[in-house]
Amino acid sequence: MTDNAPPAEDLPDTDAVQQASRTRRVIKLLIEAPLSAKLGLVVIFVYIFVALFAPWIAPFGESELVGKKYQPWGDEFLLGTDNLGRDMLTRLIYGARNTVGIALVTTLYAFLLGGILGIVAAVVGGWTDQLLSRVVDILMAIPALIFAMLLLSIFGTSVPSLILIIGLLDATRIFRITRAVSLNVVVMDFVEAAKLRGEKLPWITVREILPSISAPLAAEFGIRFCFVFLTISALSFLGLGIQPPTADWGSMVRDTADLITFEDYTPLIPAAAIAVLTIGVNFVVDWFLHKTSGLKDELL
């Protein structure tokens, strides 16, 4: 992101060489990765592919009624139909787009909010830090799912309010960790030196602190994504999250749950889709934490 390599017209060769060696390093890293991490990466890429190309892969439209309700698995409907007669496979594919997309947007928003405030609290300190930390303490004293349900019943269940509410609640956790890792960096000599040079706070934040805390934050992004994804799925399963007719894995489990008493595996499939992605992300994060020894896996 902050690429401070010299401009291309000056040293085109070195730039290309650097680029090539970086690519080689990444490839080497991937080859040496443990099996679990490779598996996780494959899972993530498959999900991204399905999410991006959903309309081309899916046999039917997202909320199109294509047959009778609760049809069994077969040639026409590979995974049968749901409680309204919509194709399960189609909705599963679109679910990758909706469920994962919404969770991703929520995590990004939570990171922007929590990350920026966390760094500000650490860099500025004083009463700003006190105020922000105490507000976060209070927000974290209420269990997240319960708080989310309270807020959802106040603001109504819609996708924007879902994103804003879950993002806000998750931002508290991100605030804490960002503040903690930034505090460790703020006291370092090179930050002190930058301050003595007379650099402004934004410059210090972006050029000195951010590069030092990016590794733990990247791992945290994976962990928080899983958490947000599971929370949103749980809320959708409870009927309080993503609302119909949008295809979403949590609500798909809820819609087809009755089938379980007839020894039908259908409700387990969207639930497994959720589980496989979170496990995959966790495997990758685990490996990443091993590689960047900033955090020990034993403490997680």
Binding site: P143, I146, L240, G250, I260, E263, L268, A271, F283
Partner: protein
């Protein structure tokens, strides 16, 4: 001793302050809503006069701070107000529901806590062995699975296919204890499966942390057996973090019941809350949220106090 008491008093007052602020948030959040309980009870067709009368009866025409004090005062005496949905006293329903939830959480805790302690200690003992790796991968997976996935797998295989336990936990007040237990087995196992992972990992981490210390190395050099080192030398010092983990997980169990209760149609507080949120029955939502939050805050407080009591080092902060 005085110091301990002072520290505990400090923590307790902090907990009370947090509870007070939480109750304020719950109250103010709901009073921000357009329309109020009187309007919701009487519906759109009601005349302004009848709404005004009911509002007067319910005390809704009073200023916010008076209503807040009344609301909180009522709750402290067990009066949670009236449900908009069915017009009944919330206090009647909520007592039974809360007792059910506690029953489920306690049942799960009875299985989960011993299990995770044993698994965690074994994992620390045989660190980096095949067992440790397997358990590590399994727990990592179980942390990342949604609760309803575990629940439906259990229903499918244990209940529908094998027929060992019922998949519906519709317990009632007049059931015998064994009958209740039988109906609560599946939800309790689900909760166990989703919470053991975390507890086990923390136990393992706490013990491994200690194993790197020099007095443990000393014990090893003296030639003491490994099991004895763990049980006699490491464990006493690991109690503080472990107890902390256990109590925090109790808090998690009581709050995490929501999804499990809905899957198994278990008549607990979580189910009540979900129903109330769907119907936007705000007095019930407020009451449930307050009880959940209070339980959560108190258990966290207990964890805090216990970790002070079990770790003398925390009593002398530098």
């Amino acid at each position: 001793m005085n110091k301990i008491l002072r520290m505990m008093a400090q923590r307790i007052s902090l907990g009370l302050l947090i509870l007070f602020i939480v109750s304020l948030i719950i109250f103010l959040g709901v009073s921000m809503l357009p329309g109020d309980a009187a309007q919701a009870i009487l519906g759109q067709a009601a005349t302004p006069e009848t709404i005004a009368v009911l509002r007067n009866q319910l005390g809704l025409d009073l200023p916010a701070h008076t209503r807040y004090i009344r609301w909180l005062g009522g709750i402290l005496q067990g009066d949670f107000g009236i449900s908009i949905g069915n017009g009944r006293e919330i206090g009647e329903v909520i007592g039974v529901r809360f007792a059910n939830t506690i029953f489920l959480a306690a049942f799960a805790a009875c299985i989960a806590i011993p299990l995770s302690l044993v698994l965690g200690i074994l994992a620390a003992l045989y660190r980096n062995s095949f067992y440790d790796r397997t358990v590590n991968a399994l727990t990592l997976s179980s942390i990342s699975t949604p609760e309803f996935f575990v629940a439906y797998i259990l229903i499918l295989f244990v209940s529908v296919k094998a027929g060992w336990f019922p998949s519906l936990s519709n317990i009632q007040g007049d059931m015998s204890f064994t009958e209740r237990l039988d109906k609560t087995v599946l939800p309790a196992i689900t909760l166990t499966l989703v919470s053991v992972a975390h507890m086990m990992r923390m136990t393992r981490a706490a013990i491994i942390n200690l194993l790197s210390q020099s007095y443990i190395e000393m014990a090893e050099l003296k030639g003491i057996r490994k099991a004895r080192i763990i049980l006699r030398h490491a464990l006493p010092n690991a109690w503080a973090p472990i107890v902390n983990v256990i109590v925090l997980n109790l808090a998690y169990l009581i709050v995490g019941v929501v999804v499990v209760e809905v899957v198994f149609v278990y008549p607990g507080l979580g189910q009540l809350l979900v129903d109330a949120v769907q119907r936007r029955d705000m007095p019930v939502v407020q009451a449930c949220c307050l009880i959940f939050a209070a339980t959560y805050v108190s258990l966290n407080l207990i964890a805090d106090i216990l970790s002070i009591l079990t770790n003398p080092r925390l009593l002398h902060p530098k």
